[in-house]
Every structure is written in structure tokens, then in C-alpha cells.
């Protein structure tokens, strides 16, 4: 934290916002007490995935794109295999489709629990970290760690390990679990379901600032289930399109202050992620998730970004119920994957990463080599909306001392669980006060 005062300009800088995945900066310019510019600057070093995917074989894509993000590798693998399967005219159904939902459930449980307990709850309870929080609330932190472990166990069974799982491939998996292996997880998952109910109740009782915003929510909305891998892209404004039409409605633009491209939807900022998903798909929740959400007394749609922690917790509960449902009906597929016939073409897919819709497009040649790749991660989609929220939030903190003003901004940003590793890392707040 540094502070400099000129005659008319005041600059506040926080060198790094903590408890986010990655590195970026925030610059706020204030003139005559009015907020001028709000720039979320991401300066995570670019890693050029889209470029070095060119020339790689389609079968290598799941292993490569997983490395974009250690927190949500399954999301990258899923969007990739669905886009590639579209090119090859492949339909992955039945138990294989269920297993894909299952590994995605594991990732949601792990990623959401990490954020709810370790990155976000400390903001509401006034601690620097979950480890510091454990001194006063050991039972909460222990519950969170055990819940997170349940998600990791599911990913490890299906994928070999939880960070960069190895079994996902175009056409299915390299290995599928036995019935008894999945059943071995059940006892812990039943505990986890109760723990998830407790989690929703716990976070719904936090003290939320009154900060409802007017959002355009964007999420997948399948006809008969809560979204993971499929479904048209829907918005609260009534738009309903397929992933093939994504680039006609969503535009990525480069801004000079960021290494992440910013995305807009029909020319405006929008919100993707748990709040959007929940608001658009609440009627598709599982029974306990639906009831537990209703019991919180919160009215839908949730329009306060601080309520994202509630949405995330409800989704943890949903993912556990969905896991139990799939395990109970599981019959191993005849083969761990369906055969692939390579053909040239272009394919697009959107799946629901923990932080929101994740779009991939690939062009493949007749040898199965990638000729072009395009990836739009959730955090670059939410970047513009984060800036708009900060702009709306700034008047509340302008009168506060620098340190508290900065902390307030950090808290707004953390509601989004931004994964700057995905979009690109390192949050630095820099408020310039002019006059």
C-alpha cells in the first residue's frame, strides 16, 4: 500500500489484491469527487495458448488446454472435446455423458468450496485467510477442507488426479470407473451433502451490503437439467442462441491496460457465472438445493454480486446431489470411448466452467491437426461487468481512508471469484484522486 498526495491528485495503490487466482491491477481515477475511469488491468504474463495449439494433433488438445487453468482444467477439457466432437460428428451419450457431468461436478465442488471457504468467507468474517480464520472457527474451516476434498476425490477417481486430470479425451475417457469404485465415494458424499446444506445456511447469514445491480445474466440453459456441458446460451434479456452463433453476439476487444481481452454481449457488459446460472436455471435445481435456497428467504433473481457466495454454495449442494443421482444409476458403458473418424472442419462449444460460460472454437484439417483455436474464458467475459460494479461501488468508499477504500474494491472483485490465470494474474489497486 502506498499513498502519494500532490496538490490536486491523490493516488492510492495496493500492490496486490489477495485471494484471487492470478495477477492484475485496478486503477480508479477520481476528479472533483466523481469517479472518472475504472480500469481492471490484468497483467498476468500472456501464455499464447491459442497460438501454440496450431499444428498440434486434436488428441493432444485436452492435455494442453487443461494447463490454461489449474483451478478449472476440466472446464477447458470439456469445452475442447465438445467442440472437436462437433467437427467429427460424434455424439457422446449415455453413461459417458453422465461421467462427463460427474467429473464436472467434482470440479465445481472443489473450485466453489475453495472460493467459498478459503478465498471469500474471510472477507465476511474479517480474516486475512482461511488459515487465520481457523483459529476462531476451526469447525468451519475443517468442514470446508473436507468438502473440498470430496470434490477432489471424485475428480481423482475419474481423472487420475484433480489438477490436470488425464483421462478426458475426444470420444469419452481413457478409462471409466467401476460401479464399486463410485459407490466407495458415497458415504463421504452423503456427509458432504449435509455439509453443503450447512454451508448454504452459514453463508446466507453473512452480512451483505445492500448493492443490487441491474445485470444481464448469461448462462447455458438446457431444457431439462442444470447446465454443465450442453444447452443453448440464454440471457435474462430473452436471447437464446447456440454456441455456433457465439461470435456473432459476443465480441472480444483488446484494451491497452490488460493482457486479457474483454468481452461484450451485443455491445454491453454482462454477467456470467454462478449468479447468472442460478438465476436462469433455478427451476432445474435438485430437490434439496431448491429447498435450501428457498429456506434462505432470498428472492430470485439475485442481483447483488455479494450474494454470489450463496449461489456458489447452492451449486455445491446441487453438484453433490447430481453426483449421488448419477452414481446410483451408473452402469459402466460398453467402451470407455466411442471411435473417432477424423474430418476437416470447424467446431464450437460452450460449457459451464465454475466461473461461467467457456467458449472454444477449433478448425481442424484432414490430418486431425489444429489449424486455428479461439478460447473465451469466463473471467474475460466478466471483466467489463466487474468494472461497472466497481464504478457503482466507488461512491460508497470514496470518503473512507485509502486502506478501507481499497479493501472495499477488493471485496467487490472477489465476489466474482476472478480467475486471472484463465484470463491471464496480479491485482493492483491504484486510485487516482484528482481534486
Amino acid at each position: 500500500m502506498s499513498e502519494s498526495k500532490g496538490t490536486n491528485t491523490r493516488t492510492i495503490a495496493v500492490d496486490m489484491i489477495a485471494r484471487v487466482e492470478g495477477e492484475g491491477a485496478l486503477r480508479v481515477t477520481v476528479k472533483d469527487g466523481t469517479v472518472q475511469d475504472v480500469e481492471l488491468r490484468i497483467f498476468e504474463p500472456p501464455r499464447f495458448f491459442e497460438a501454440f495449439l496450431q499444428g498440434r494433433h486434436y488428441s493432444e488438445v485436452p492435455d494442453i488446454v487443461a494447463r490454461i487453468c489449474g483451478i478449472c482444467p476440466v472446464a477447458y477439457q470439456m469445452s475442447a472435446v465438445h467442440a472437436l466432437e462437433q467437427i467429427f460428428g460424434l455424439q457422446v451419450d449415455g453413461a459417458l455423458r453422465d461421467l462427463r457431468r460427474l467429473i464436472y461436478c467434482g470440479e465445481w465442488i472443489e473450485s466453489h468450496t475453495l472460493h467459498v471457504y478459503m478465498l471469500h468467507a474471510p472477507d465476511f468474517l474479517g480474516y486475512a485467510s482461511a488459515i487465520a480464520m481457523a483459529k476462531d472457527h476451526p469447525e468451519m474451516v475443517t468442514r470446508g477442507l473436507r468438502l473440498k476434498k470430496a470434490g477432489n476425490a471424485l475428480m481423482t477417481l475419474l481423472g487420475g488426479r484433480s489438477v490436470h486430470p488425464v483421462s478426458v479425451k475426444v470420444g469419452g475417457f481413457s478409462r471409466v470407473p467401476l460401479r464399486r469404485e463410485l459407490e466407495g465415494l458415497k458415504e463421504e458424499l452423503l456427509w458432504a451433502r449435509d455439509a453443503a446444506v450447512e454451508t448454504v445456511r452459514w453463508v446466507a447469514g453473512f452480512d451483505f451490503p445492500d448493492f443490487a445491480q441491474d445485470y444481464t445474466f448469461v448462462a447455458l440453459r438446457p431444457s431439462d437439467e442444470y447446465p454443465f456441458n450442453e444447452g443453448p446460451i440464454a440471457s435474462s434479456g430473452g436471447v437464446n442462441i447456440s454456441a455456433v452463433e457465439f461470435e456473432q453476439h459476443f465480441r472480444e476487444e483488446q484494451v491497452s491496460y490488460s493482457t486479457a481481452l474483454q468481452c461484450s454481449f451485443n455491445g454491453a457488459g454482462y454477467l456470467a457465472g454462478p449468479l447468472a446460472r442460478l438465476n436462469l436455471n433455478a427451476d432445474r435445481l435438485s430437490p434439496m438445493a431448491k429447498q435450501t435456497l428457498a429456506d434462505t428467504g432470498l428472492a430470485l433473481p439475485l442481483r447483488n454480486p455479494f450474494h454470489a457466495i450463496v449461489a456458489r454454495s447452492v451449486e455445491i449442494l446441487y453438484a453433490i446431489e447430481e453426483t449421488l443421482r448419477i452414481i446410483d444409476s451408473y452402469e459402466p458403458p460398453p467402451s470407455p470411448s466411442v471411435p473417432v473418424t477424423v474430418r476437416a472442419g470447424t467446431g464450437m462449444a460452450c460449457t459451464e466452467a465454475p466461473r461461467g460460460i467457456l467458449y472454444h472454437r477449433y478448425r481442424v484439417d484432414g490430418d486431425g491437426l489444429i489449424r486455428e483455436a479461439k478460447i473465451v474464458p469466463p473471467t474475460s467475459q466478466n471483466q467489463r461487468r466487474i468494472e461497472e460494479d466497481l464504478r457503482a461501488y466507488m461512491p460508497r468508499v470514496l470518503d473512507l481512508p485509502n486502506k478501507q477504500a481499497a479493501l472495499g474494491c477488493e471485496k467487490v472483485i472477489r465476489c466474482y471469484d476472478p480467475c486471472i490465470s484463465c484470463a491471464t494474474h496480479f491485482l493492483k489497486l491504484d486510485i487516482q484522486r484528482d481534486g
Binding site: A51, K148, V163, V166, S167
Partner: protein, 277 residues
């Protein structure tokens, strides 16, 4: 590797966790130590770990864990200051230890890469290479893997806390794979597996999941000529080509992956690049 210079005044060693170009997966592996995290938080004073804590304190640090590779001019400068503040510096993962997957740029024209990803490439500051930490500063211990194995990390931290020089096995995945009783995917299914030349540590996950090892723990040592020496990549590559009928471009891509720029793998891929030309 002695953590504390002053043994008369024992105190909790201070830990710093630093990130460079990476995916955060190795830092997540620390947080994935669910059963041991709180005990670790008691044994160590976590003085700097921005991803997990907003309580960020300045060095010196007894242990610095470094994730990520060096890809920008700023980071090439920042790693010097991390080294200055750290008694023991440990790299965690393929990026920090070997340059990572983003080292695929080392064979490419980065300006062209920028144009593929960014409409206005002039705003993007990036070096033409992605290099491991050891090319910039002295590294005391390296943890391989993409991601690291969390049990290996715990082992190394426990050793350091006990004042023991950490050691990890350097033999090939093959040995671990046999111990697990797997059927060899290369012999039985003809899948080009990097297990014979890849360092153990993952638990032979890939062959256990019915697929090929793709080298994410880097090169094994000693398989060819003895400890500390490179594995026999030439023999394996020849088998891929002659036995499994991979064309040179396919052999090249096998070695040019997650740890593509580390020497034994880099040199092998370049052999096949020449053959392809």
C-alpha cells in the same frame, strides 16, 4: 540446505509462495493438502501467499516456493529479489523447473504469436522465451510435475523442517508402473508412452488410466548412463518410429510438450525436426 542460521533462537520458519507465468495449479496443490494444511500453517509462518492470504509480509523468507516460468522483462527482475530474500528457494512444477508448456514459444516467433491472440500486439510485453527459474537464479531444490505431487511437496517441507536434506526418486515412471501391476500400454496396445524416460512422482497415473504417459514430470535420470545423466530418449524415439510407425512429426510432438524445453526432451525433438525437414 539449512533453514535457520541462528540455531540458538528457534522460531517458526517463514514461508513465501511466489507466482510467475503459470496456471496456479501447483499453488492449488498446496491448498489441496486438505488433511495437513492447518498443521502446516502452524509449523510454518505463512508470511507471503497472496493466492491464499491478504496478510502479505516482506521477506526475508526461510523457504520460498516459486511457481511459474520467466516470460516478461519485469519477472526476470522480480525473481532476483525473491532469491535475495530467500534462504532456501524451491521451484514447484514444470513451469518453474523447466519453462512449462508456454516454453513452446521458444521454437516460435513470439511476435507472430501475439498477432494470433491480440489485435494490438504492441501493448503486450513479453520475452521471446519462457525460461525456468534456474536460468536466472540459484535454485536449491526442484519439484517436478505438471502439477507437482502434493505428497512430494509435503515430504520436502517436512524434511526441511526436520533439518534433513530432501531427496526424491529420479527413476522412471516405468518402475512405478510395474509396481502398480499395470499392463504396459506400449507393449500391449502399441501406444507411444513416455514412461521409460519420464521421472517418477505422479504414481504412474496415465498408464493406470489406460493411456500413455506424456512426460509431465520431466526426464528421468540414470535410465541410460547412470544417476544424474539423461534417459535414453533416442532409443525410445526410434521405437516410436520403427516399432509403432510414428512419422517424424509425431515423434517430435511427443517430446515437445509440457517439458519440451528441458534438455533431453528438447534435443530429442530437434533430432526429429531435422529428420522431418
Amino acid at each position: 540446505m539449512d533453514l535457520q542460521k541462528d540455531h540458538k533462537k528457534p522460531r517458526r520458519p517463514r514461508l513465501g509462495v511466489f507466482k510467475f507465468a503459470s496456471c496456479d495449479g501447483c499453488q492449488l496443490s498446496i491448498l489441496n493438502l486438505e488433511d495437513d494444511l492447518l498443521a502446516l500453517g502452524q509449523a510454518l509462518d505463512i508470511a507471503y501467499f497472496p493466492e491464499a492470504s491478504s496478510d502479505m509480509r516482506e521477506g526475508p523468507y526461510d523457504i520460498a516456493l516459486v511457481e511459474g516460468s520467466i516470460t516478461t522483462p519485469e519477472d526476470a527482475h522480480r525473481i532476483l529479489s525473491v532469491r535475495e530474500q530467500a534462504t532456501v528457494l524451491i521451484t514447484i512444477g514444470a513451469c518453474a523447473t523447466a519453462g512449462g508448456i508456454q516454453a513452446l514459444r521458444n521454437w516460435a516467433d513470439v511476435e507472430a504469436f501475439k498477432r494470433v491472440v491480440y489485435p494490438s500486439p504492441q501493448y503486450i510485453q513479453s520475452l521471446s522465451t519462457s525460461t525456468p527459474i534456474s536460468e536466472h537464479v540459484r535454485v536449491d531444490f526442484e519439484l517436478w510435475g505438471c502439477p507437482i505431487d502434493k505428497e512430494q511437496l509435503l515430504r520436502v517441507l517436512t524434511d526441511l523442517l526436520a533439518g534433513v536434506q530432501p531427496r526424491l526418486p529420479t527413476h522412471s515412471v516405468c518402475i512405478e508402473c510395474k509396481r502398480r501391476g499395470n499392463v504396459c500400454v506400449m507393449v500391449a496396445k502399441g501406444i507411444p508412452c513416455l514412461g521409460p524416460v519420464t521421472r517418477t512422482g505422479c504414481g504412474a497415473i496415465c498408464p493406470s488410466m489406460g493411456r500413455d504417459c506424456y512426460g509431465c514430470f520431466g526426464p528421468a535420470e540414470g535410465a541410460h548412463e547412470g544417476p544424474g545423466l539423461p534417459p535414453n530418449t533416442a532409443s525410445l524415439a526410434k521405437e516410436f518410429h520403427r516399432g509403432l510407425q510414428l512419422i517424424p512429426a509425431e515423434v517430435l510432438r511427443r517430446f515437445r510438450g509440457i517439458n519440451g524445453s528441458v534438455r533431453p526432451f528438447r534435443e530429442e525433438s530437434e533430432v526429429w525436426e531435422r529428420d522431418e525437414a
